[in-house]
Symmetry: C2
Amino acid sequence: MSLPETAIDNVHDVLKEHIPADQFNQVRDILYGGEVKELPIDTKSKQIGIENKFDIKYYDFPAAEEQLRKPNEVVVAVVQNSIAKPTTDPIDVQRSGLHDKITRIVEAATLNKVNVICFQETWHMPFAFCTREKLPWTEFAEDAESGPSTSLCCDLARKYSMVIVNSILERDITRGEVIWNTAVVINEKGNVIGKSRKNHIPRVGDFNESTYYMESKLGHPVFDTKYGKIAINICYGRHHPLNWLMYGINGAEIVFNPNATVNGLSESVWGIEARCAAIANSYYVFATNRVGSETFPNEYTSGDGKPAHKVFGHFYGSAYVTSPMGLRTPDMSRRNDGLLIAKIDLNLCRQAKDNWGFRLTQRLELYADELADASKSDYEPQIVKG
Amino acid sequence: MSLPETAIDNVHDVLKEHIPADQFNQVRDILYGGEVKELPIDTKSKQIGIENKFDIKYYDFPAAEEQLRKPNEVVVAVVQNSIAKPTTDPIDVQRSGLHDKITRIVEAATLNKVNVICFQETWHMPFAFCTREKLPWTEFAEDAESGPSTSLCCDLARKYSMVIVNSILERDITRGEVIWNTAVVINEKGNVIGKSRKNHIPRVGDFNESTYYMESKLGHPVFDTKYGKIAINICYGRHHPLNWLMYGINGAEIVFNPNATVNGLSESVWGIEARCAAIANSYYVFATNRVGSETFPNEYTSGDGKPAHKVFGHFYGSAYVTSPMGLRTPDMSRRNDGLLIAKIDLNLCRQAKDNWGFRLTQRLELYADELADASKSDYEPQIVKG
């Protein structure tokens, strides 16, 4: 189920290669909101990328100059990657392989002065939820404060003065040992400052996640870090506009959207949901997704009438960044590991709010009332017979 | 401010012309969700299109076969058009010109067996709100039940057994003569069955609409017509995900999004907001927009530091349809008048709901509570200090 040789690496490069320059620019302006300038990548980090087979891209999102506020620039990154070892290897070997891979990528990130980095959903394990098997996969679940992946991230955060969003399968030891899908936020001193959990759990195709964990009860926290107010909308939550909305209401300037999603199912909506959310809520969105196929030891079915199989999808990577004004980068590769970096000016969030006026005109009270009514079991929809 | 000769007519045609077939198909699948088959256009209607200089496109959106429900196919259309006469002509001459133009387009529609049709925002007048002048433009405002444009639409609806969504500037005679931005819904017998009004009013650039009318107090009505449950999200309301959401909650199967929006401001988000809404809410969206530039008698400014001018934008047309599964048509032309028709199977709405499970997982109660809190003036955002 790997992408065939003839599969395109990303849409932007195909457009750029084949469409004459003047028309390409027009198409790009409509599809991407304009041109995002690239910034030079640190030479040593490039070498690490080549040696470890991951792409690096670095983009610039400036804001308009203001008189009373200085530019508020931070360097933010997301990572997309494949697993490092076969799923038949021992759990600790699989995890160590991923720890090594991520450590190399973070080294490349810090050489480019990255302040905040977010990894893909449950980056420390294969996305084994297609199997509906518990052991051995649930052994990857770890304590959010002291588990091995969090410990690694705390070390990296401290060493590089980097805020890290560590998206893991969490084992909640103190609450009946239940499992959650959790993003642990670690500050630049290496301390866990809190966590956010997945608010919407898919029940579609290979995404049998409700078999493993439930919807978050932690609401929509925003983490006020040294490098901006950040929030995390995990995976399938990207399909729910209300989820995006609440992070905006709580003041997020940057929302990370770590994913594990496969082609066929979601790829045609991938490029637009996070972008729409950035526009509607006047914040930056950094969306990322894992890469490659994952083969499991035992057969499973996908609820689509097709025969049982062992390979899970093709995770199509395609990380991208969108500004509050809707300007977005090209996608990263559909097949390679990658580090996507952007220098962003957080002043653009307020400028976007003033420009479009969506907060001004959003009528929250109206919708609070309507949703309160609509969520009652005796709700009568507003229907006019005709 | 007309589009220069070198401007592309629409993105899809540029991709199709320049990208090799195999790669084009991959790009199309990612950007448009797949291929939408075209259906044959009635020959006589084609001739009317040629004589009256409007394009016609006709697409097919089938659903999967079911055992207990028959296909529920209806033919639905939207219109995009330029004004017919200079804005310096007498008001009734300008309006008659548009009435004639729309009558020709509806004739072409009925030859293709269209059941439901929606015109662009305030189709019966130039989009004069850039001027901030009251007279003569407010003379276009008319009674929703008995005004000249509604009367024309009632006649056409009766004659052709067509449901018509008539998007007008409304003069509310019985309520202090205030003006609204209103969509009047007329059933296939030619009777007005109700109206919906614009819920979110822009305050940006040339869109000085809050100078003329206020936000609707009619909520989010859905009209249960002979040809499906329809709702209307007028123009700037497309930027507000909650607006789309409530039409879905009230049961809409088809949401029309009539617009007047210009390039530069909104074109890079045009193709994705209505499409995202269709996916998030499991209904069809028909989005349309006016065409061409409109020149006004007196100079006005646009709040962008540029000199006063008389020409308003370039309205870029680009009507399109998206299915509940996210499959969408190419855009109509950026410069020509057009009639966009689609045969749609309404069964696809339920199939999309079952497939993606967004209603199942949307947690309305949670958001009703959170929005109720968030709309209080003493709301404390959920911030974690880090």
